[in-house]
């Protein structure tokens, strides 16, 4: 990537975002990628005068990540989207849809996870509060071969 990427910890994330806001950066969006069955890669994209800056957070799926929506209200929808599609829980969301921004109760619960897809049938208990429940991991090969349901 051409632009600057800064690695951040979960503890430092909200502080870094607040600093960028003071410096006049606009939040563009977040991108989430599943690295393996236990870990997600979160990229926070910011822009100022058409120059982008990115914060990178490597987050274990089992732990909640602090929401930056109290700092940047615009993060509200994308954090809820990641919560729906990857099962990562965000703490302190301005409006928390509890995993149902896009998904219905009976839908697949982490449809964008390649290595650890969790369906409503395979999940124990209700989906929305159970977002942080561990999922049965698929092998890398099986994840690649699996067709989208």
């Amino acid at each position: 990537m051409r632009e600057e990427i800064t690695a951040v910890s979960a503890e430092a994330l909200v502080g870094e975002a607040a600093t960028l806001k003071v410096l006049g950066y606009r939040l563009v969006t977040l991108s989430c990628t599943e690295i393996d069955a236990d870990t997600l890669d979160l990229l926070y994209h910011f822009d100022k005068d058409l120059r982008m800056k990115h914060l990178r957070l490597t987050a274990p799926k089992s732990e909640a990540v602090p929401s930056i929506s109290p700092v940047y209200f615009a993060a509200l929808l994308v954090e809820n989207e990641i919560q729906d599609f990857f099962g990562l829980r965000f703490e302190g969301l301005a409006v928390d849809y509890g995993g149902t921004l896009y998904l219905e109760e009976e839908a697949i619960k982490t449809p964008y996870c390649r290595f650890s897809l969790r369906t409503a049938e395979s999940a124990d208990g209700p989906a929305a509060p159970g977002l942080d429940e561990s999922a049965a991991p698929l092998s890398e090969g099986a994840a690649r071969d699996r067709k989208i349901p």
């Binding site: 990537m1 969006t29 991108s31 990628t33 058409l50 615009a74 149902t100």
Partner: protein, 360 residues
């Protein structure tokens, strides 16, 4: 005062696509709006797992019909950056020309729908009549009216000849004259102003802080347009964004109207400088994408962002799409409080919501 919750959408005469706003009212005034999405989500990003990086062009073109060409251009631009492919100059200029044609048909579609949202049916008909000429241009130069499918990794697949380009310029002259005839009505008519001036005001500060993009941000004085980054051939065309400062529905209307005329100007400039030569770089033998990138272009509704990641295989690890309507929803939530219920259709339409993009 007692509060009432009123659902606006997912089905509403003014909405071509389903979105639901949960409006909390005090008497006739809105005090809060909460969006509900997910009625037509298709999970297209996940198709990257089973479609190779060439086939994904056809997938991203179907994120949104109205701006299919620009989705594909953005995706190809990102893949070309990861793979280190240099696009021929003529292909870059043709991408600009087709992008502006797409912007015009999208803005004309919106101008008609916006007129319809406040009941000005004859104006709706006039804008859609003019739009037909743009659709003819798309069909003649690409073979399709909506999903034009001209982008490939390394360039474009069509190469209009000089005769076709002269014909395009002649059609644009007709479009320009027709738009000038409609300008006074759309921007100065008493009924249009009555329904749009002072409605859905978004301040410059709010627009920036809420991450608004495109005409929604530029109508509030934020002079930001991804074309200023100079992607494709925009860097050689002295591009200047169209900006208004009032921040209301009328200002967003003015931005889109003026941008439609500015697109004609950009096409003329691009044609004037259109270089000769190849339109497609050879990529045979180049290894599949290995790396990651963030790439941006300007869609009719605003900044479009793609995050692409590949690990040297035919399928990509991640295709992440941030569409402009998704970025403009928080701004819409800030515009609505304080307004009457009867203003909701006009204010909602003023961000040019594309739910197909949002529910990619």
């Amino acid at each position: 005062m007692r509060k009432t919750v009123i659902p606006f959408g997912p089905q509403h005469p003014v909405l071509p696509e389903p979105i639901h706003l949960q409006l909390t009212m005090e008497d006739e005034r809105i005090i809060e709006a909460i969006p509900n999405l997910g009625y037509v989500h298709r999970g297209l990003e996940r198709l990257a797992d089973i479609r190779d990086f060439h086939q994904m062009i056809q997938v991203v073109e179907r994120v949104c019909g109205i701006c299919s060409m620009i989705h594909a251009a953005c995706y190809c631009q990102g893949i070309e950056e990861i793979m280190g492919i240099e696009v021929p100059p003529r292909a870059n200029y043709l991408r600009v020309i087709w992008s502006e044609i797409h912007r015009m048909q999208s803005h004309l579609l919106w101008l008609g729908l916006f007129a319809d949202s406040f009941g000005f049916e004859s104006l709706f008909m006039q804008f859609w009549r003019v739009r037909e000429k743009i659709m003819d241009i798309s069909e003649a130069t690409t073979g399709n009216r909506v999903i034009v499918s001209v982008n490939v990794i390394g360039g474009v697949r069509r190469n209009p000849d000089p005769e076709q380009i002269r014909w395009v310029l002649a059609q644009l002259e007709w479009v320009e004259a027709e738009l000038q005839r409609l300008e006074n009505t759309m921007l100065e008519d008493y009924t249009v102003k009555k329904r749009t001036v002072g409605k859905g005001v978004l301040t410059r500060q709010q627009a920036y802080e809420l991450g608004a993009v495109g005409p929604t941000a530029r109508g509030s004085g934020v002079a930001q347009d991804a074309r200023q980054t100079g992607y494709a051939a925009y860097g050689e065309l002295n591009f200047e964004p169209v900006v208004e400062t009032e921040g209301d529905c009328w200002a967003r209307n003015k931005v889109r109207f003026r941008e439609t005329l500015a697109s004609i100007d950009l096409i003329r400039r691009a044609v004037k400088r259109l270089p000769e030569g190849e339109v497609r770089a050879k990529i045979k033998g180049v290894k599949p994408p290995n790396g990651e990138t963030v790439t941006r272009v300007e869609q009719p509704r605003g900044e479009l962002l793609y995050y692409l990641k590949g690990s040297g295989e035919k399928t990509l690890d991640r295709v992440r799409i941030r569409t402009p309507t998704f970025a403009n929803i928080p701004a819409l939530l800030a515009m609505l409080p304080g307004h009457f219920l009867s203003d909701v259709p006009v204010v909602t339409l003023s961000i040019d919501p594309c739910i197909s993009c949002t529910e990619r």
